[in-house]
């Protein structure tokens, strides 16, 4: 592997982590969706680059899937959902930007430490890739935890899945079937969640999860 291949792969993966951070402090839903589309775009680029340097044409399919579904269809669909739900003006912040960013940095540090330690014999590209992927996953989870709105939780879930795809493509020899099935399961999850959002909305007049908890009659 030449130096350039490695550097570009590294750059793209690093950009994914950076965009995850961007997602973390978007408190308006439109902006969040735009950043998510960017996230998916960079993922598609990264996967395509992997396809190029690994000489694995089936990864182009994965890249195309990521581009079409995650960078276009899902953001557009979520956009429409937000408009139809009439929540595009909502601002949400459960945890402040500062603590969220600090936690995010700690998570990235943790995933670096873990991955670089446990994969000492692995090939360096896969190693870095895995470390970045774990960071993206953890940041996605962090986003799901710190957000209240169901739509932004969906976005957190999707960016978590982007991290999984990044990890999967970084490892050589992942069969196409696995990737396609993962992609479809994400799509189905998206559809199901979308339907549920509307159902929830119909029933409760809101997609704020706190309201849902109130309806369940919980103490908090």
């Amino acid at each position: 592997m030449t130096g350039l291949d490695f550097d570009v792969a590294h750059l793209l993966a690093g950009m994914l982590v950076l965009i995850s951070f961007l997602e973390l402090y978007q408190d308006r839903l439109y902006a969040l969706l735009n950043v998510f589309a960017l996230h998916a775009l960079v993922l598609a680029l990264s996967v395509a680059w992997q396809a190029f340097i690994q000489d694995a044409p089936h990864l182009y399919v994965t890249a195309a899937l990521a581009l079409v579904f995650k960078a276009v269809i899902i953001p557009v669909a979520l956009h429409r959902i937000i408009v139809r739900l009439g929540i595009h003006r909502e601002i949400e912040n459960v945890v402040g930007v500062g603590p969220a960013m600090l936690t995010g940095m700690a998570l990235v540090a943790l995933s670096m430490v873990v991955m670089l330690r446990v994969t000492q014999e692995a090939d360096p590209l896969a190693r870095e890739d895995l470390a970045f992927a774990l960071s993206v996953i953890l940041l996605g989870l962090l986003m799901m935890v710190t957000r209240r709105n169901a739509v932004s939780q969906v976005v957190g879930f999707m960016s978590l899945e982007n991290g999984l795809v990044l990890a999967a493509t970084g490892a050589k020899g992942m069969p196409l079937v696995v990737e396609i099935s993962v992609a479809f399961s994400i799509l189905i999850a998206f559809i199901v969640i979308g339907i549920f959002l509307f159902r929830i909305r119909e029933r409760f007049d809101t997609v704020d999860l706190q309201a849902l908890d109130r309806f369940r009659g919980e103490r908090r």
């Binding site: 459960v94 998570l107 943790l110 995933s111 430490v113 873990v114 330690r117 446990v118 953890l138 989870l141 962090l142 799901m144 935890v145 209240r148 999860l209 706190q210 849902l212 908890d213 369940r216 919980e218 908090r220």
Partner: protein, 669 residues
Amino acid sequence: MTLWITLSCTAILLLVAVFAVAAGREAAATYVVYGLCALAALTSLLATLQHLLGLAPPAIVTLPLGIPWLGAHFRLDALSAFFLAVVDLGAVTASIFAMGYGRHEEAPLRVLPFFPAFLVGMSLVVLADDAFTFLLSWEFMSLTSWALVMSHHRLQENIRAGYIYLVMASFGTLMLLLAFGLLAGPEGHYTFAQIRAAHPTAGLAALVLILALTGAGSKAGLVPLHVWLPLAHPAAPSHVSALMSGVMTKIAVYGFVRIVFDLAGEPAWWWSMVVLAVGGFTAVMGVLYALMQHDLKRLLAYHTVENIGIIFIGLGLALAFKTYGMATASALALTAGLLHVFNHSVFKSLLFFGAGAVLTATGERDMEHLGGLIHRMPQTAFVFLVGCAAISALPPLNGFVSEWLTFQAILLSPQLPAWGLKLLVPTVGALLALSAALAAACFVKAFGVTFLGRARTSAVQCATEIDRFSLAAMYFFAALCLVAGVLPGLFIDALAPISDALVGASMPSQIGTQWLSIVPIMASRSSYDGLLVFLFMVLSGTFSAFAIHRLASDRLRRAPAWDCGYPDASPATQYTAGSFAQPIRRVFGTVVFRAREHVDMPAPGSMQPARLVVDLRDLIWDALYVPIALAVGYAADRLNRLQFLTIRQFLSLVFAALVILLLVLAIWP
């Protein structure tokens, strides 16, 4: 070839189970299903006998079932052939018994489909030659027998029995799962051939022994893991009780023998001590529990616990002798244990059939409501008496032979070099003798209170003899008790290949001995001749009967039964099961069960009767199971709050768990 036959028999039994689901409502289904079961089991039995008689070499079959890269391995060697023969023999007879007994079943659809499936489970456990197939069949056997236990599911006590059985069965399977996991090692060598070839380290083997003892022991009914057995066995229909008590517990013994003698490698010095101590404790506790019972089927179930203890004493002795290289003595002890496996399966099934017959005829299991059945059901009473004599280890029946052989092995213990064993084995011998004596007392109680005296309830007075199928099954087993007692040499010789394979030696051949006697070690030391004892008993019995009838007055007199100072009083004044057991309860129960008796004396002028109230406490249940149940209940109460978290709190929990695990990974050296 024979293995294929037995495997196809299990396949046929599975088909019969499916058929029973479809046709269970038809009136003739009982005959058809049980008839097919009997035929399939008989075919399998005949095929297995070839292995048992040494006519066929061990057979191996691998079927492409189960885990893709593993397949399902089956093997029929001497050990599995013996246990398969026990299963099939019990299955044939229970099916014939059920052709008559099963007609009285209220909900046949709850029994008919599961009975063949249960037989399949037991056969496959014995045939399995890899850990996966073994555990799968084991669990299948547990689940189908659970379904049979729950067949009369509206009774509160059956629900409790089923629940406890399910918990204990899962526990046992978990232990066996761990044992096989340890044996298979990190590479996952799941076939028994691979496990046999690998030699586990001493620590690993010790863990495997403990896991096998608890796993198989919970299924077999070793004290203190026996709690489910006296609840679940009586709850099932009687022919199933016979199979569970007579055969399924033996499958557990098979699991133990297979793991400890065959797979786990060389035994360490302390293994036998654990097995012997547990066996001796189980034998005595089982019979003491049984003495306190007055439910006929539950009494029999507790006797299963006792007999499992006797079998484990035999196995423990075999382990002890094997550890110190005394192969002949080890073969003797192992043969004694395995012979008792066979004998117990025969007479315990017979006794459960008898209890089932009584239950059908009277609708009663409680001995305090029975009595005088020998007039109403003379044939059942006769075969039940044979079973009682056999289980009480009276010569010339089969129970005596195996217990006598166990004692012969115990008498060899002074030759053991280890002091611990030298002290322990005679203690266990004393426990064995005690349990044998108490068992005899218990069956005097069981037979006397149930069949002798006068009827205690009107239901018993109207009882009629059971149908021919059931009688045929019982007569067959009674005859087998006698044959195995009179000609034990045949059975001992059939067990020789097993001890050859497991401990490297076998008992001397018994075929050529004079007068068909058996000689465990050498003729100068000890020998037993069941045939001579039998002939002597028959001759002296005939002679004294003749003498009494000829020389004494032959005038028939009828006198009040049990006329112990209460002439013409109600049947309730007879000796009861409780009063019969009272002396033993006072001697042992005061300590073991905290038995307390007190008299409720009514106030002067009150018309109420005075009552003697007996308080029994099951200390094992109180000390072991109640705390566990309380702890689980407490933890469940605490964790219940987790059910009501918000979505974000759930997510945070998952997130925190992930981060903590990663932190551990990062910090771990």
